[in-house]
């Protein structure tokens, strides 16, 4: 027996390939949507992995530092260092902002880290060019996705920084590339007021009799100094000693320091479960609609192709072709269309994924699930056409 479906496809391959390509672009969009979601999850995991921390110590009753703002004193880390099982602890600040570079600006997450060697929590894990931050001020290490070059001057708030190193895959949970600067600078950047506001504040402080007592020289200056310093950081990143479990180390810090402590596992739950949950549902809606649209298109195309073959189907039935053979022919064509569509979709998604501004992660598992979904959709979509074909009366071939 020959493949009727195959012969029909070969005969009308132009029609098939064109509709297949159209369907394929739609499937490509669907795969890309899934890839956008995977990319978001992967960005979130990369953020956690690359921070090099086992525990995140943040302000009490907050989901910080990524999902909510958190601020704790910058000397808290000393106390944490003394807790059992803590190997290293380092302050860190996060500030998402536009980093100026000449005329333009780039959206980035500015991370304040304690200058130090590799392995210090908060530091970028590895560099692709240049060196680490060694000075306490005005040096920066940037993710290459920012487009910054080594040696370039960038502006964060009012200060200029020299890019001394480049890293990669260091992104915020929303996919913005990171720029690392020394902690002191970052604290200042978070807090910095404009000159008018500073003058204003000094005037207000000077007018306040509580801070400006005639009999206490130096009080005003001390008050002003304390107002213009920022003693806060967003979190303390903790690495634990080998042999300790994160929960065992976290518990005493929580109890004795009255701070919130998250383990890596809890942090991932917060990021994936809360921070990107709405976006995930948004993408889910898109996937559902795209699936329905694809199904409708396949159903429509197969149905029209079948209606165009009513006479041939009547002849096939008249000369004794079984319904099963005819149904199988239509089914094969629907699935064939789906396969062409899937191949085109997979290729186009692979082709255009790198051009997307945010990370698009095409997982083989998603492709496999997508393929199964396409086949199932095609099978369901062919039901309509098969019913129409089975209704064709062989007597029609004989005519009046």
């Amino acid at each position: 027996m020959i493949s009727l479906a195959g012969r029909d496809i070969l005969h009308a391959w132009g029609k098939f390939v064109f509709t297949g390509v159209g369907l394929g672009l739609l499937i490509g969009v669907t795969l890309t949507m899934a890839g956008v979601y995977r990319g978001m999850v992967d960005d979130a995991k990369a953020l956690l992995d690359n921070s090099g921390a086992d525990l995140w110590v943040v302000q009490k009753d907050t989901l910080g530092p990524y999902a909510e703002s958190s601020s704790i004193y910058d000397d808290v880390y000393r106390g944490i260092l003394g807790m059992p099982g803590v190997e290293r602890a380092a302050n860190v600040t996060y500030l998402t902002m536009q980093v100026r570079r000449g005329e333009s600006d780039v959206r980035a997450m500015v991370v304040g880290v304690v200058p130090g060697g590799p392995g210090e929590p908060g530091q970028p894990g590895y560099l692709v060019a240049g060196r680490r931050i060694t000075r306490g001020h005005y040096e920066a290490v940037a993710d290459i996705a920012t487009g910054f070059q080594l040696g370039e001057q960038i502006q964060i708030r009012r200060n200029l920084y020299t890019v001394v190193g480049l890293t990669r895959r260091m992104v915020s949970s929303s996919g913005d590339p990171m720029v690392f600067i020394p902690l002191k600078d970052a604290q200042e950047a978070q807090f910095l007021k404009d000159n008018d506001a500073i003058v204003q504040q000094r005037r207000r402080t000077a007018e306040n009799p509580a801070f400006n007592r005639p009999g206490v020289p130096g009080l005003l200056n001390a008050a002003i100094a304390s107002q213009s310093a920022n003693p806060y950081v967003n979190a303390v990143l903790v690495q634990i000693e080998p042999g300790y479990s994160p929960d065992d180390v976290a518990e005493p810090i929580r109890r004795w320091k009255r701070l919130q402590v998250y383990t890596r596992e809890q942090m991932e739950k917060i990021l994936v479960g809360k921070l990107i949950a709405t976006s995930a549902r948004q993408i889910g809606m898109f996937l559902v609609i795209l699936a329905i649209v694809s199904a409708a298109i396949v159903a429509f195309i197969i149905y029209t192709l079948t209606l165009g073959k009513v006479r041939e189907i009547a002849v096939l039935k008249l000369i004794g072709t079984r319904n099963r053979t005819i149904a199988f022919m239509i089914l094969q064509q629907a699935v064939g269309l789906g396969v062409i569509g899937f191949v085109v979709g997979k290729i186009s998604a692979t082709f255009w994924a790198p051009i997307f501004p945010k990370y698009v992660l095409l997982e083989p598992g998603d492709a496999a699930r997508g393929f199964v979904a396409v086949v199932v959709i095609c099978v369901l979509a062919s039901v309509l056409a098969i019913r129409a074909a089975l209704k064709v009366d062989p007597a029609e071939a004989i005519g009046g």
């Binding site: 020959i2 012969r7 000369i319 004794g320």
Partner: protein, 236 residues
């Protein structure tokens, strides 16, 4: 009684029910011997197509008997469960338009029938080629139907009707789209094949050109047939 070819006795067909019912066949009697080609002639609406559809087992008669080859297929009800297989194995169809499958080449259009019956592809194609040779279209064996002339298409359709060596061929206006030379050629081929393969052939026609070729003609009028000797000219 040993029967071969086609025997029809008292065949009736009523379309619809109640007041709107149409008695398309009111008691048709017909006999066609193996190797014989008979004409079936009648005015429009007289029941020719209805008779072919009953014989071709695509609609169910209301009453009567039909015998194809040595098998009673209808006796006030179908005597056969698999009408598809009956059509595939026992009946060849030739229509006014050749109705070839457009996506199969000439050979496979013909070979499809034995393939459907489970014969291997090679053997089926071999048989198709032999028939194409006999019908003088072997040189077009690999062409697609849309690239054939009308006469060539009709010959391919005849080959398709013959391939399973059915005891019966039913032809509905097979020469309508052809000029008289080609029309006569088709009838000649049908006669030749009928004799060669011992096939009983019924040709429904309006075509004045071919009417004189039949040796026997059934006239159908208002759902009833009567038999009449034809001139049987071209093939004496």
């Amino acid at each position: 009684m040993l029967t071969k070819g086609i025997r029809i006795n008292g065949l009736k067909k009523r379309y619809g029910k109640g007041e709107t019912a149409v008695d398309a066949l009111k008691g048709v009697d017909m006999q066609v011997a193996p190797g014989e080609v008979v004409g079936l002639i009648g005015p429009s609406g007289s029941g020719k197509s209805t008779l072919l559809k009953c014989l071709g087992a695509v609609i169910e008669p209301t009453a009567g008997q039909m015998t194809l080859g040595d098998e009673v297929i209808y006796d006030d009800g179908w005597k056969i469960s698999d009408l598809r297989a009956l059509r595939r194995d026992k009946i060849g169809f030739v229509f006014q338009a050749p109705y070839l499958i457009p996506f199969l080449d000439v050979t496979d259009n013909i070979a499809l029938l034995p393939m459907l019956a489970g014969h291997p592809n090679n053997e089926s194609r071999q048989r198709a080629l032999e028939l194409l040779k006999a019908l003088d279209v072997a040189h077009r064996a690999r062409a697609m139907p849309s690239h054939l002339s009308g006469g060539e298409q009709q010959r391919v359709a005849i080959a398709r009707a013959l391939i399973n060596r059915p005891p019966v061929i039913l032809a509905d206006e097979p020469t309508a789209p052809l000029d008289s030379e080609r029309a006569l050629a088709v009838i000649r081929i049908l006669n030749q094949m009928a004799r060669q393969y011992e096939t009983a052939v019924i040709v429904v026609t309006h075509d004045e050109k071919i009417v004189p070729t039949f040796r026997r003609i059934y006239h159908i009028r208002d759902g009833r047939t009567n038999e009449e000797a034809g001139e049987g000219r071209a093939f004496e």
